[in-house]
Subunit: 389 residues, 2 copies
C-alpha cells in the first residue's frame, strides 16, 4: 500500500425532500448572495428551480441565475459565469444539475477569485488556492462531481477536454441528494451514468500497487451493488430504493475512498475524453465502449487484476487468469448492452472515427504514456481505438 | 433506504512517517498551544512521544502533556484534563494512542469549553455545541475514534460506561495513521482491535432497513478484507501491507460510511459495555464473546440478515436461512478463536458473571429495549449473557 491522504469534508444530505435543505445549509454557512447554475430546461420544467429559489428567498438570500450549461461543458460558460459572479458580487455558488453543471460551477468558483485565465488551472499552469464555496443539488447520478474536488471542462478552441483535480479546494461544502429527482431521467442517461460511476471505480481498481485488499474489496462491493441495482432502475424508473442505491454509489465511486493507498489508472477516461471532445457523445456511453476494449487490450500482457475483477465482481469461474479476464470483459460488455448502452464505436454513432487525430490529441494533452496499470504509448492507444470499432 | 446525512471532514494522512505530519497540520490550522494526551508507557518507551514533541517545538508550538490514560478510560482523567487545559489555556488537543486516549481527548475537548459537568454530554443531559479541535496520531487500530464523532467514557461512580455521539463536533481535524507504529502491538491487543472493528461494521450491517444494497456491499467487502488480512498480521506482525489494510479498515469501519441509509443495531456494544465496565476486560475481546452469542440468539426469530452475512462474508453454501445463519455464527467464532480471542465468558476470564446485575445496569443505562435489528428486552439480553457462558 502506498502513502495517501484523503479529506472528504462535503456534508451529504441524502433522501426524500433534501433539495429543500440547500437554503438552510447556505444560511448556516453564512452565504449572502448565491449564483444558481443549472443546465437545460428540465430543472425549470419540473419546477425544481422555482422551489429552490423560493426556499432561498424564504431564508433571505438573494439568488442570481446562470442557466444553459450543456453536456460536455465548454469554457465559454465558465467565462460567462465568472463575469456574472464578479458583476453581481456573489459569495457562493449552488449547482442544480449533474456533472456538467457542477463542473462548470467549480470553474466559476475558482476562476472568480483568480486574476488570470481560469483555463490555467485545467492545463496545469496554476494551482487552485482559493475558490468560492459551492453547494450542490444533484439531479443526475453519474459524474460524482458532487463529492469530488475535480472538474472537467472542454476548451472550444482546439476542443481540448481537460480535467482539474484539487484535494479539497473545489469539493462542495454540501450536496443534497434526493433520489426522487432522478425518477424522470431518460433511460439512456440513467444507463450512461451507471457506466460512468462503474468506470470511476474501475479506474482506481486497476492499479499496479499490490497489497490494497481493503480498497479492492470496497471497489468490488460497490460494483456488485451497482450491477444488482442497475436492472431495477432500468425496469422501474420510480423504484426509490434502487434509485437511491445508484445515486449513493455514484457519489462514493468518485469521492476518493475507492482509490486510497494506490496509484490509479485513468487511461479509459483520457481516451474517452478525446471521443466526447471531438464527437460530443455522452461521456458514460463512450466509457462503455472504451473501457472493455481497454481491459481486453491490457489483459493480453497483464491479466491478473482483470481476472480478479472477473472472479470477484462477476463470479467467473475459470482456471487461468487470461481465460478469467476474457470472460470478465465479455460479462462487462453484456452488462452494458443489457442496460441499453453501446459497446462499439459504431453503436455509439461514430462509424468512421478519425483515429490518427484522436491518438495525436490524446498524447498531446496527456503525454507520451498514459495510465497507471500499464502505461500506454500511442501504439497501444491506437490499438484500443481499433478494438473499439 | 432511509434518509441520512453524513459529513466526515477528518483529514486522514496515511502511511510511513506520517506521525511527523501532525505538527505541520497543527501549524496550518493555527494551533498555538497544544495538550498532548497519551496512555501508558509505550508511547514514551518507543520514543514516539519525544519525536512528536520535538516536531511541535520545531514548529514553535508549545505542548503540555497529560499521560496515564488507561484502557476503558474513566471520567477522572477527563476532569483532570479539563482542569489542566483551562489552567494552561490550550487551544487544541493532540491524542497520541488508541481509542481510550482519543475518547479521553474528546471528553476534554468538549468539557473544557462547557460550564457544566462534561458528564452531562454522556448521559444525555446536554448536547455538544463546541469543542477544542482535536488531532490524532493513532497507535492502535480498533476503536475507530480517529475518524468518528463519538467517545465512550466510564464514570467511576456506579461504573456507568456510556457513549456520546456527535455529528461533527468531536470528529478529529486530522488523523495521522502510520501502520509501522502498530508493529509492536501485542497479539492479544491486535486481535481485540480486529474484533472491535469487525463488530463496528456488523452493528451497522444488522439493520431492520431494507433496500440498502450499496451499504451492505461496502460492509461485506470490508469484513472480507479484514478476515483476509487478520491471519497475516497475527503471523507476521511487521507485514506492512497487512498492518496497513487492518489500520485503514478500522477507520472506515467506524467513520459512518458503513451505516448510511439505515437504522443500526448496537446491542452487542451496549451489552459488552456492561461487561468491560464491571470486569474491566478488553472491549474487543468482550465483543468476540458477545457478538456471536447475539447473532445466534437473534437468528432464532430473524435469520435472514445473519444468513446473508454467512453467505456473502464467509461464502457459506446452505439451503435454508436458519442453517446458513448457524454455520455463519460458527465460522465467526472459529475465526475469532483462530486469532487467539476468547468466545465464551469463561475464556474471557469471567467464570461466574453476575448476570442479574449486568442485565439490570444494561437496561437502566439504555432503556427497556435495546438494539435495532430486533429490540431486545431484559429477558432477551439475559439469554444472550447465558448463551455466552
Amino acid at each position: 500500500m502506498e502513502n495517501f491522504s484523503i479529506c472528504t469534508p462535503t456534508n451529504y444530505v441524502f433522501g426524500r425532500g433534501t433539495e429543500c435543505e440547500a437554503s438552510r445549509l447556505a444560511a448556516q454557512a453564512g452565504w449572502k448572495r448565491v449564483m444558481i447554475v443549472y443546465g437545460g430546461g428540465s430543472a425549470v420544467r419540473s419546477g425544481l428551480l422555482d422551489r429552490v429559489k423560493d426556499s432561498f428567498t424564504a431564508e433571505g438570500i438573494p439568488t442570481i441565475e446562470l442557466g444553459g450549461v450543456k453536456p460536455n461543458p465548454t469554457d465559454d460558460k465558465g467565462y460567462e459565469g465568472i463575469a456574472l459572479a464578479r458583476m453581481e458580487k456573489v459569495d457562493a455558488i449552488l449547482a442544480v444539475g449533474g456533472g456538467s453543471v457542477i463542473d462548470t460551477a467549480k470553474a466559476i468558483a475558482c476562476g472568480t477569485l483568480y486574476e488570470g485565465d481560469f483555463w490555467d488551472f485545467y492545463c496545469g499552469k496554476a494551482a487552485v488556492e482559493r475558490a468560492l464555496p459551492i453547494g450542490v443539488i444533484l439531479t443526475i447520478p453519474a459524474a460524482g462531481s458532487e463529492g469530488s474536488g475535480n472538474s472537467v471542462i472542454t476548451r472550444i478552441e482546439g476542443l481540448r477536454k481537460l480535467s482539474l483535480r484539487t484535494d479539497t479546494a473545489l469539493r462542495p461544502r454540501f450536496a443534497c441528494l434526493n433520489p426522487e429527482l432522478t425518477f424522470t431521467l431518460p433511460p439512456y442517461q440513467t444507463a450512461s451514468g451507471i457506466a460512468d460511476m462503474m468506470v470511476h471505480i474501475m479506474e482506481r481498481y486497476f492499479t499496479p500497487t499490490e497489497g490494497v485488499e481493503v480498497t479492492d474489496r470496497l471497489c468490488e462491493g460497490l460494483l456488485k451493488a451497482i450491477i444488482a441495482e442497475a436492472p431495477k432502475v432500468m425496469a422501474e424508473p420510480e423504484n426509490y430504493d434502487a434509485r437511491a442505491n445508484i445515486m449513493w454509489s455514484g457519489t462514493i465511486a468518485h469521492n476518493g475512498i475507492c482509490g486510497c493507498g494506490r496509484r490509479e489508472d485513468w487511461a479509459s477516461h483520457f481516451i474517452e475524453h478525446e471521443l466526447s471532445a471531438l464527437y460530443d457523445v455522452t461521456h458514460g456511453a463512450g466509457l462503455a465502449v472504451i473501457t472493455p476494449a481497454w481491459m481486453s487490450y491490457v489483459s493480453k500482457s497483464k491479466p491478473a487484476k482483470v481476472a480478479q475483477f472477473a472472479r470477484r465482481v462477476f463470479d467467473i469461474i475459470a482456471d487461468g487468469d487470461s481465460e478469467a479476464a476474457k470472460l470478465g470483459v465479455e460479462k462487462l460488455r453484456n452488462f452494458f448492452r443489457s442496460i441499453g448502452l453501446p459497446v462499439t464505436l459504431r453503436e455509439l454513432g461514430i462509424a468512421n472515427p478519425d483515429i490518427p487525430t484522436l491518438v495525436r490529441k490524446l498524447h498531446e494533452n496527456k503525454g507520451p504514456k498514459i495510465g497507471g496499470y500499464i502505461p500506454l504509448t500511442a501504439t497501444d492507444t491506437e490499438a484500443i481505438f481499433r478494438e473499439s470499432l
